[in-house]
């Protein structure tokens, strides 16, 4: 076999310590996405708001992320799909940092990005286009997602579950939010740790299903890991014969049942 398709894209990682102004985060993502990954942004580095458009796929799919500096410590994020429909239907998802400075872990790939604000209570946002192997991207349509939260329109830190996201379901008229990541747990709807019987860590793709019985796809360059891994912990994972990837736990909380023992990790190396 080869490296699984959801782990085979380019990726970028940056950890920026003591960020005191969210414009720094925006400029970092300009570098990660535009300079290093061929995203486009009409305003250039330093713009506010900053519009980041991922590379258009062969089937015409893309999404656009608008980062807005609401204040020095509050970053607003909206994401729209290639039809111009708002994905994170809160209109105004927000990520906060501390006035005294916060470490920001920043992840990007051609199909998505993730911002993890490593506060005492971490705040995390991710969005993107799912990997649909073995199907072709865009058949029958693209599957976009954006995480639910971390902060809603009113600024409350409410929906940070690793499995919650905005998606456009079958027969839907807009993106709706729910717990759509798939668990490695039995039908009895208990949560299972991602541990072996002897306690070794087990990882799994973050698979997404929002039409009953159908698998829409997987998040790119991300894995589901056990909740016993603390925030910002790293784990080295074999991804092919003789090939490893390093993944870092981001700030989402563990999921809702049956994912109550699972967290999200994004690739750093």
């Amino acid at each position: 076999m080869t490296i699984p398709s959801f782990l085979s894209s380019a990726f970028q990682y940056n950890s920026h310590a003591t960020v005191t102004d969210v414009q720094t985060i925006m400029n970092d993502f300009y570098t990660l996405c535009v300079t290093n990954l061929s995203w486009t942004s009409p305003g250039g580095s330093g713009a506010n708001p900053m519009t980041l458009k991922c590379p258009v796929t062969a089937t015409g799919l893309f999404f656009t992320v608008v980062l807005t500096r609401t204040s020095a410590t509050l970053l607003s994020i909206t994401v729209t799909d290639h039809m111009g429909i708002l994905i994170n239907n809160q209109t105004n998802n927000q990520v906060a940092i501390d006035a005294g400075g916060t470490t920001i872990d920043e992840y990007a790939n051609p199909f998505g990005l993730c911002i993890s604000s490593e506060r005492a209570t971490p705040e995390c946002f991710d969005c993107g286009l799912l990997d649909v192997y073995p199907d072709t991207l865009g058949t029958p349509r693209g599957w976009y997602w954006a995480s639910s939260g971390p902060r809603t329109n009113g600024g409350g830190l409410v929906t940070q579950y690793m499995d919650y996201m905005w998606v456009f379901g079958n027969s839907a008229t807009s993106y709706t939010s729910g717990g759509y990541a798939l668990a490695r747990a039995p039908q009895s709807q208990i949560s299972s740790h991602l541990l072996s019987f002897t306690g070794a860590y087990v990882v799994a793709p973050i698979e997404v299903s929002f039409d009953l019985g159908y698998l829409q796809g997987r998040k790119n360059q991300a894995l589901m890991v056990d909740s016993g891994l603390v925030n910002a912990a790293t784990i080295v994972v074999p991804i092919d014969v003789g090939v490893t990837g390093t993944f870092k736990v981001v700030g989402f909380t563990a999921g809702s049942t049956p994912l109550a023992s699972c967290k999200t990790a994004y690739r750093t190396a």
Partner: protein
């Protein structure tokens, strides 16, 4: 990569048509296991006792040595229509006693999915729903196969009293921390969205069929629900794929495929069904 470890063990498929007696089934089991390589140790206890004792090939490459034992019996008093299987692990711990029942009104198609680490006896009756017995050893990779000793499992359509009980593919009996439990433990790939209406996600919206390992969870020595291992030469697939006895070719590595057959017994629920390797 190479083919996953749980798809690299030996396997042998055997079928018999027009069967009407569990005595014939015992004969079939002896015949099927005799054609396995590495070989099982089969003791035919007849005529003294109407049973055969089947010990899987001992995997002495790891300590403790891995094997399991199935004693198949033609249960007396049931007109050759009850086949019982008692499974014990490598320590002699009884994991479960399960039964399948034939019908007197017609003959049956018997399918035997066997290998060094698994055995499935499946009865297709036409006049009634199919039933099955399963038993085997879990693949523990990437951990060493000696990482722990809680790797044997079994299940069946009927309990030891002959009543249909937990007759689905999600249940299996194995040793959790210290206690043998027949419980809902096969990973079903659900999410909170489908809570209360679990649906295995084994199709893509574009129409591709998706196969996944049959993973068991078990409560480990830390009293934590954990990933215990994968069944050898078995897959979960969509129940919309084919019908009982139908086969599908599944990629197992670059340039390599395996052929898997839908097992009829153990009721398919939530859109998923059990497939076992035949080629």
């Amino acid at each position: 990569m190479t083919a996953p470890a749980f798809l690299t063990s030996s396997f042998y498929y055997y079928i018999d048509y027009g069967v009407s007696s569990m005595e014939t089934v015992l004969n079939d089991i002896v015949a099927a296991l005799a054609l396995n390589s590495p070989g099982w140790t089969v003791t035919d206890n007849r005529p003294g006792t109407d049973s055969v004792t089947c010990v899987s090939p001992v995997d002495s490459s790891v300590t403790p040595h891995r094997f399991f034992t199935c004693v198949f019996s033609n249960v007396s008093g049931h007109s050759n229509l009850w086949l019982q299987c008692v499974t014990t692990d490598q320590n002699g711990v009884t994991l479960g006693t399960f039964v399948i029942e034939g019908t007197a009104s017609n003959t049956w198609i018997m399918r035997y999915f066997t290998g060094q680490f698994h055995i499935i006896v499946d009865i297709e009756k036409d006049s009634a729903a199919s039933e099955a017995l399963v038993a085997g050893i879990l693949d523990l990779s990437p951990e060493a196969q000696s990482a722990h000793s809680h790797y044997c499992y079994c299940h069946g359509s009927r309990n030891s009293s002959g009543a249909l009980a937990n007759n689905n593919l999600w249940f299996a009996s194995m040793v959790d921390n210290v206690t043998v439990t027949d419980s809902n433990r096969v990973v079903s790939y659900n999410n909170s969205y489908s809570y209360g209406n679990p649906q295995a996600t084994l199709r893509s919206p574009a129409g591709s069929f998706i196969f996944k390992p049959v993973i068991h969870v078990a409560t480990n020595t830390l009293n934590t629900v954990s990933q215990a291992g994968r069944r050898y030469q078995q897959l979960l697939g969509s129940s919309n794929l084919t019908t009982e006895g139908g086969t599908l070719v599944v990629p197992t590595d670059i340039g390599s495929t395996g052929t898997f057959m839908m097992v009829g017994g153990l009721v398919s629920t939530a859109g998923a069904t059990l497939f076992a390797r035949v080629a």
